[in-house]
Symmetry: C2
DNA sequence: CTCTGAGATGTTCGCGCTAGCATCACAAAC
DNA sequence: GTTTGTGATGCTAGCGCGAACATCTCAGAG
């Protein structure tokens, strides 16, 4: 418990307890046979000294690192923390531990973060998206480490993948909107060419509209700032340009909520005059004056499945290499049902 | 770029490029003098092979680990991601890298996470709060690693600290409320005895009210669920019990926003009939129909300062060991100004 | 033509720990 | 008494890399 300048080692504990380093190591790892008295002696000496094992040396010697790299674009929206929660929940029952890296939706940063993570030789990698730089893909391949690409199911995985089809999500939402009779449809989203999942939703969306001979009447994109406030502003801007819009599809729930608040303040009939829908199914929506129509992205479940795949690989168990979840639409109070 | 069963080492690169391992090491770390031609040769060989250095071995050999452990209670509310953003921003200009651990507000889990983190021998520790288990405190002391305790300034730090006084924050808010003439005051918060900062705010709050002979008229606590929805429910419950409440102080902005939405729907005059205030100054508030009164917790700045202290310690620079930031109240549209 | 020095490259050793085996003590079986 | 077995403990040899030092090479000075 005293402060020391250089860190304690197994040797310090072994000297303090009068047994070999090996025995101390065994006690601290609960490995092999150690007599109860020795165990006690060692544990009390370790505690006395305030010894914390050096995992760096341990990992090098044993060639095992109980870390799982989780690489995601952002922590600041609600979506990835929930994926993380799913991952943590599963890993907590194993020896594995998640370590998070954030890419800010930048491919080069993703590559850098991946490199950094791989240099610690983790037991597995969980990484968002199917789009990566050539180099990133090569690293994952060459690493020999199990990799699970998550969130998206529209594309080819390096190793394993767990996600939903965003293209399909866009199509399903478009179909529901058309079915409800809306005709003049606006799309509001983020100005992020690198958010491939939002892009795919939009593609699926317009594709289905096109089949009914409908085009998106208005679109608007934002970047930065408070999503709720941006949802307001964009909704206002779009309605000023095209007052006859009868539906607005938002690329995420947060801006959808902003739009909803704006329309309600203006006394506009939702969903009679204008229908609304978002995407993600965030918990926040429960507290809104009206429940926004949305589509659950199965975030927690994706985290759970991905972690299970990694955990299985570590134990040499074979598992599904590709899991596609099906998000369910929830109509809430802002999208008429047929 | 081909997949291999066991991981590549410096030796593989050295053989591929015809120079010694040491030279490869120097090239990859940009350390020491290496001729341009050799450098090229090595880099192309490394790239060809898809070699990723093993930081575990590197860290063991050099006794340096460029990681900073950041230990926080939660990722799911808006507050800690913003602290993290501040930390990352500063560390990005250094060789250091943040690694996040989450404690869920549980002291035992904090202790476990800390132990785990320290076993990787990071260059620094940034940890939320001043309250820790005896063992946790002992570990931090014994580690010889720079430690910055953040968010709170009401207490004793193990090593360094950066935060605000939550007691003072509660007092200042109480004073402003009294000054505006409110008398019948309710407090709504979280059911978390272990959230010491919320507790301290509440203590400061009641202390100042008491000096004016006022007691909190109603209180209500929640746990779990959507904060926005809980804010609604609790506000409704409290007003049903005591319809003459004229002010509600929420322990965070999210439940405050829920309350605000509820009151507006009910057509209640805010802040005429009932005033409201939250805590944190989250960005979300900008999109609300009215700006909620709140107090900025200086989250980003705390992250920045803490990271700066760690960065300075790593370079053996001396710095301030205790930084107390002063949050500013913002009256928004829900708290009358004198 | 030799010497000098600085840049370029190589060698040795050990970081703290664990796998894999060797060894030891002691009790029960013969 | 000797053997055998079993649980407890110790020893040795690296894991892959980098610090520190040793060595080599070659241009320019003398």
């Amino acid at each position: 418990m005293t402060q020391n300048n250089r860190s304690l080692t197994l040797r310090d504990v072994s000297e303090a307890s009068g047994v070999s380093e090996m025995t101390v190591s065994r006690v601290l790892r609960n490995r092999g046979d150690v007599s109860a008295t020795t165990r006690e002696k060692v544990l009390s000496a370790a505690k006395e000294l305030g010894y914390v094992p050096n995992k760096i040396a341990g990992a090098l010697a044993s060639q095992r690192v109980n870390l799982v790299a989780v690489i995601i674009p952002s922590l600041s929206n609600m979506v990835f923390p929930e994926v993380l929660a799913g991952v943590s929940q599963v890993l907590e029952d194993t020896e594995l531990q998640p370590v998070v890296g954030v890419t800010d939706y930048l491919p080069e940063k993703e590559e850098k973060v991946l490199y950094e993570m791989l240099s610690w030789r983790p037991s597995g990698v969980i990484i968002a998206g199917l789009e990566h730089t050539e180099a990133a893909r090569a690293m994952m391949n060459a690493s020999g480490i199990p990799v699970v690409e998550i969130m998206d199911a529209d594309g080819e995985a390096v190793d394993a993948m767990v996600g939903i089809s965003h293209r399909r999500a866009g199509r399903v939402m478009a179909a529901s909107i058309l079915e409800a009779g809306y005709k003049k449809i606006a799309f509001l989203g983020t100005k992020m060419p690198l958010d491939h999942r939002a892009r795919k939703r939009f593609e699926g969306f317009t594709e289905t509209l096109a089949k009914s001979g409908i085009e998106v009447a208005e679109r608007e994109f934002y970047s930065g700032g408070s999503a709720l406030a941006k949802g307001r502003e964009m909704t206002q801007a779009v309605l000023e340009r095209s007052p006859d819009i009868d539906f607005i599809y938002y690329s995420n729930d947060m801006i959808g909520a902003g739009g909803l608040l704006y329309l309600m303040e203006k006394g506009i009939d939702v969903p009679g005059q204008i229908g609304l829908a978002g995407f993600n199914g965030v918990e926040l929506l429960q507290g809104l004056p009206r429940r926004l129509a949305t589509m659950d992205a199965c975030r927690r479940e994706i985290g759970v499945k991905a972690a299970e795949i990694i955990a299985a690989s570590v134990n040499d168990n074979v598992t599904e290499k590709s899991v596609t979840l099906t998000p369910k639409i929830s109509f809430g109070d802002t999208l008429l049902r047929k």
